[in-house]
């Protein structure tokens, strides 16, 4: 009986998703230009919006200009970390160049999709609001519109305090 219980617990653990209140999974990823490496620890002490995106994802393109504005409006105490899950860096770079804007936030590249797996990403795009202590405070599935950004801004303001 005990073996069966252990087996069932292990099975459910395999399908465990990242939830609000969980510690944000750590990562080590390079920036899109390959010049810098970042880990989750680098953003400790800041409110982080971790966004998983890809160039082929239409919703990602829709919300990206709003993310540019969000980072510009929150220069201190907030870091938007956009992680591209594209196979190739070139596609991600081309995608960002089509926005015709200087990207003010950190863009990382994860061709092995390790963050997609770690966060059990259930849809593209997905965003995770993480507090100063590295705890997930909000899981956002799908793209954000202007109203969602306003709500998110309020949440960021609360977490920054």
């Amino acid at each position: 009986m005990n073996y069966i219980l252990i087996f069932l617990l292990l099975t459910f653990n395999l399908f465990a998703e990242v939830n609000v209140g969980d510690k944000a999974p750590d990562f080590t990823l390079k920036t899109l230009d390959g010049k810098q490496t970042h880990t989750m620890q680098d953003f400790k002490g800041k409110v982080v919006l971790l966004n998983l995106w890809a160039s082929w994802c239409k919703g990602c393109k829709k919300e990206m200009p709003a993310f540019v504005a969000l980072q510009k409006n929150n220069k201190k105490g907030f870091e938007l970390v956009a992680v591209s899950l594209d196979d190739s860096k070139d596609k991600a770079t081309h995608f960002l160049s089509t926005l015709n804007q200087k990207i003010p936030f950190t863009v990382l590249h994860d061709s092995k999709k390790q963050l997609g797996k770690a966060y059990s990403c259930s849809a593209m795009p997905s965003s995770y609001l993480i507090d100063k202590n590295g705890v997930i405070k909000q899981v956002i599935i799908g793209s954000l519109d202007s109203n969602d950004i306003k709500t998110l801004q309020n949440e960021i303001n609360k977490l920054k305090q």
Partner: protein, 73 residues
Amino acid sequence: MKYLISSALLSLLMLGCSETLTRVKPYEKEHFADTKMTLNILEGRTEHEGHIFLIREASAGGDSTFQGGCGCR
């Protein structure tokens, strides 16, 4: 021991039915999102072929598999 073997067998059986073995995760759909995976390209080609047929046969229609509209099929 009996429980261990039965648990192992049960886990193997359930892994066989597990959808994680076959399911494409949302972040792995890059190739599915490629434009060549859409049917629009074929639609464009059909339209183009219909246009050529119209010019060649000097008649409308002919884009179906049954009769061409000109009576030649």
